[in-house]
Symmetry: C2
Amino acid sequence: MQIHTSIPEVRAALQARRRIAFVPTMGNLHAGHIALMNEARSHGDCVVASIFVNRLQFGPNDDFDRYPRTLQADCEKLAAAGVEILFAPSEEVLYPEPQQYHVEPPAIQHQLDGEFRPGHFRGVATVVLKLFNIVQPQVALFGKKDYQQLMVLRHMTQQLALPIAIVGGETVRADDGLALSSRNAYLSVSERAEAARLHRLLKRIAATVHAGERDFVKLEREAVGELDQNGWKTDYVAVRRQSDLQLPQGSDERELVVLAASRLGAARLIDNVEIELANSH
Amino acid sequence: MQIHTSIPEVRAALQARRRIAFVPTMGNLHAGHIALMNEARSHGDCVVASIFVNRLQFGPNDDFDRYPRTLQADCEKLAAAGVEILFAPSEEVLYPEPQQYHVEPPAIQHQLDGEFRPGHFRGVATVVLKLFNIVQPQVALFGKKDYQQLMVLRHMTQQLALPIAIVGGETVRADDGLALSSRNAYLSVSERAEAARLHRLLKRIAATVHAGERDFVKLEREAVGELDQNGWKTDYVAVRRQSDLQLPQGSDERELVVLAASRLGAARLIDNVEIELANSH
């Protein structure tokens, strides 16, 4: 695997490639990332990964400083997964001066996760656009665990006329259902056992909606209550439509998703479950 | 000359090109535009122009509706200038839905021209990024008459890591010095004669600064006064440093520019003159 840290270097390495499939990451790779790398191989003849912990998308109280950085182990995993090129720039390379030009997403950036992480999606959109401009892939893959991020990047790509297909990869879970995440490392042993509740709860809400329940507000309130009683501090539990994460309008919405973000100990965990309702027509 | 109106068509036409030099315009082409096309030929083996009157960069009181549209004559001029491909999309092609993702430039977007045209530079930056993503040129050319636009696009390109060289083309002028502009068509015969004052004034300020004057505020005030007395309504006359259009700091600034925007009758005219001071060291 080639590892490049400078923009001219990685551009030169990619110049002759026909079809690049790109997986941007913040490193500290787990099986969810590796599943994206494997899926990337079916989309391009050259798989490129990036590792960059992007300060722009962290708020002042977020975990930028303690976010786990494990470059050596990450490189071994990427090489084993058949990644051909890793772009791992320093902050000086990607932000040689303070970033002053941003991609400004619409109101969704202030909703759901955006309500609790001001500036987060602006920071994500800006760094991903820069990485796209450097790597110039034909396909880019992002995990569905970060559902709102995937939606924002999909819309950004369409709206800015980028010639890139955005592919969402299924969430990879531990045996008890907990979505794999670098932030799971912040959990104590007892918190780790409790953490599986989040996915169980979302699956239960999905099943209840599937069975016909349409009082989403009640479902959300009950879910927050259960999390509260078990030591969580919840930012949101929300049933939304998949396409744009807005509130479902009327009873003909068929593609829904229930999303949640909640804090357990030092970890802020997010997860979601898609709900596909049968067409009633 | 090939004329393409759809994004997939122009992308297909450009696929095999090695070095694309791109000149985005709003049409109604004059000798200033044609000079950019001619210069483009020295930068690439395929010259691409675009014509698109970009609603995003016009304010509600701006001249979007009456902006002159002369596609047929423009095509003849472009073909004669050796342009190989014209991209001339409709609004439905470039904005199939309302634009919700924008490039947000920093504070300079609210200064000078931006103070009098809220949202203008955001609209320019956003449409140019989209056109860049469609055409994917190696070089793009913009006229120096729109000095602030050139600076914003140059910085955007650097900050978003676009692999594009930005080239500024010299302003083309009528015999009496008036900078060529589509908006000159709004001038009556007597206004057209008066319009040459703007460039004379900027040249005089440049000469005065060159001769050692450093009281820029006085120069600006006197210039506004002279314009006032001759029927103009002035938005600004400002001496700034070339690199970022901020106020010159101290006496070691060597590369300055004097910029102005003023309204004469129905036309809002802008112009500028660069000032290169000899190095005193």
